[in-house]
């Protein structure tokens, strides 16, 4: 591999087990490019924070190795990794002023006073907290503390910054504001950011690429659009955005198109998971890709369903329909029909193209992340 193309951070078959029996992280392979904003996304217990902590040096790998810039960091203590870290609850030092908090990483590096002050000022400018040097963390709001924490992780010019659910403690409005702020800072500095969250919305808004984790494994790594449009795994389809899942059985395969028997109907869908005739499968289709009352014969897949209820969302209508013997098939249609055009109990024709319906691995789990 060429030096310039080589990923900045490489996870090589990294596993982590605390007790030798259950693995928290299970053979993770992951490349992180220089300068990108990569998010580790997954429900709690998926091993995303452990992955981050192994990179930061607060957890050891049980097997496998992590390379940064082509070098294994296995034996480097955290302080020598030169990685900026933003913790979940900020971890600001309450007995120091904001200025002292920011100066801390510089002072332990033996930087002289004048340069220290200049760097601290610049970092505060970056997070728009000029003039806060003399405050103590306890006197700041949650959002301000978060900015200080980010500034502190950046003040010593690390090339890699890790963030462990940094916005989890903030309310929604502030969270959105900070998402924008972090994006802006990332773009300004061009540092590599590895971000951990369980909030798929947040991941979609912020990331260049997202790695979806589940039970210690990477399910899929892709940019947000691809992840949404082309999920490779049922879990990803379920975890990212709203999604209809139909459980069925593969009846026939022709090229990329499979015929799947679902609840008494045959549905044509595009094959994503390697499957054979007779395999169980879960079909995934986005609610907004289902057309209601199309001209008959326009779609390969056309079914008749019964409207169970209608939720009025203003610009959208959200229909819950019974089709293929499942009663929670969701359809989202733009509000062009007007209020009252559809009623609960109506029989409607619905349809979709086979390429919008994806044959994925069977996913019997019903819990929502």
């Amino acid at each position: 591999m060429e030096g310039s193309r080589r990923p900045y951070v490489e996870y090589r078959k990294v596993s982590k087990s605390y007790d030798g029996k259950t693995t928290v992280v299970d053979g993770v392979d992951l490349d992180i490019r220089k300068g990108e904003f990569l998010t580790l996304l997954g429900p709690s217990g998926s091993g995303k924070t452990t992955c981050l902590m192994m990179l930061a040096g607060f957890e050891t790998t049980t097997s496998g190795e992590i390379l940064v810039d082509g070098r294994s960091i296995h034996n480097l203590p955290p302080r020598k990794r030169g990685i900026g870290m933003v913790f979940q609850n900020y971890a600001l030092f309450p007995h120091m002023t904001v200025g002292a908090n920011l100066a801390f990483p510089l002072e332990v590096r033996g930087m002289d006073r004048a340069r220290c002050r200049e760097r601290v000022e610049r970092a505060l400018q970056l997070v728009r907290l000029e003039g806060f040097e003399q405050r103590r963390p306890g006197q700041l709001s949650g959002g301000q503390q978060q900015r200080v924490a980010i500034a502190r992780a950046l003040v010593f010019d690390p090339e890699l910054v890790l963030m462990d659910e940094p916005l989890g403690a903030l309310d929604r409005r502030l969270r959105e504001e900070m998402q924008y702020e972090i994006r802006r800072i990332h773009k300004t500095l061009g540092v590599t950011v590895v971000y951990v969250t369980h909030d798929q919305q947040e991941a979609m808004v912020m990331s260049d690429r997202i790695a979806v984790l589940r039970d210690g494994r990477v399910e899929q790594v892709a940019d947000p659009e691809t992840l949404y449009e082309e999920p490779q795994r049922s879990f990803v389809a379920r975890f990212i955005g709203e999604n209809n899942r139909l459980h069925g059985k593969v009846m026939g395969i022709e090229g990329d198109i499979c015929e799947v028997f679902v609840g008494g109907e045959i549905i044509e869908a595009i094959r994503i998971a390697p499957c054979q005739v007779g395999d169980a499968t879960t079909l995934s289709i986005r609610p907004e890709r289902v057309a209601v009352s199309p001209k008959s014969g326009r779609y390969t897949n056309e079914l008749v369903g019964v409207v169970e209820d209608i939720t009025f969302l203003g610009d959208f209508l959200r229909l819950r329909v019974t089709v293929c013997r499942t009663s929670n098939f969701i359809i989202k249609i733009p509000n062009t029909v007007g209020h009252g055009a559809l009623l609960a109990g109506d029989k409607i024709l619905i349809g979709w193209t086979p390429t919008d319906c994806r044959v994925l691995d069977p996913d019997p789990e019903e819990e929502t992340p």
Partner: protein, 406 residues
Amino acid sequence: MNVVPEQKTGRTRPGPGLRAALLVLPLLVFIGVTFLAPLANMLVRSVHDPVVADALPGTLEKLRDWDGRNLPDEAIYEALAGELLKSREDRTLGQVATRINRVQSGLRSALTRTARRLGNVEDGPWREAMTGIHAAWGETGTWLALREAGDRYTTRHYLNALDLQRDPGGSIVRQPEDRRIYLILFWRTLLVSLGVTTLCLLIGYPVARLIAHAPPRRAYLLLILVLVPFWTSLLVRTTSWIVLLQNQGVLNDMFVFLGVIGDDGRLAMIYNMTGTFVAMTHVLLPFMVLPLYSVMSAIPRVQTSAAESLGATAWQSFWRVYWPQTLPGVGAGCLLVFILAIGYYITPALVGGSTGQLISNMIAFHMQSSLNWSLAAALGGILLVCVAGLYVLYDRVVGIERMRLG
């Protein structure tokens, strides 16, 4: 108009503030009776002693005009003789003699013998008669002592407690060298307390840190291990140190067995300063560990991780991030241990021998054996001032509101 039920019954209930005050009242009374009143009584006792003044009012009245250089005149001898006889009849002579004897030793027998023999003397001249009974009546010093003992309000006990006294001219001078005992004891108490506090901090800090950062189950176990000695009787704990440290004790036997020391070179580890040190440190350790633990368990572990991720060495992370945040606990623990140590009494009494005695043991001696309560009160008063001074100092330096006791 609405009728409030309370008004109907014709009674008004006390307001919540008054009710709360009534609930606290028994406690306040208890504290007042068992703590504040004795304290005030003790402090008054250290400066106020009316026994002599009440027994010999006439004599003291006349002595007030005496120049103090020549022997007093006959009238004073006569007054004293009369009052001594009366005091003997009232059976207060013993107390009077004891107090005068404290000002100048040897005068007790002079007073009691004089009073006894004066019964046989019918008539003056009293000076000859008394001087004949005891030579002390021919010395001005005796009369000076008498006059001093007759003061109702006196700083004598405080001076005494600080190894000072008034010379015949009335200015304050140090006691003769062989009578200076208290200052040394105060110093020793102060040093021992400081030493014990330091030891407790050195031992207690790592222990508290271990407990505060252990997983909950183990933390509880460790905490109980700290608390079990705390719950055991002080006497049991102290005597078990005797078992361990005495000349034929476990530790010495082990050393001899291992050949570290010879049988004739057994270490004297108890009934001296070492014993006091060891036993006091052990007894007071929980008072250091508990406040420290409480403060430390409130410090998130992630702080240390954060410091490390920012490039700090383990030492920098401890010294600049962890230690400053534990200071309220350190302050509280040190203050607590120091204040307890400075007034410690039982442990030194049991294991201190003659060289390991502290000022409290002297106070106990004056309370129980010499019955010089005034001096005991003065010593206690000085101790109280020391502790109060420390408290104020701590408040100025650290701020008492930052103290966390647990």
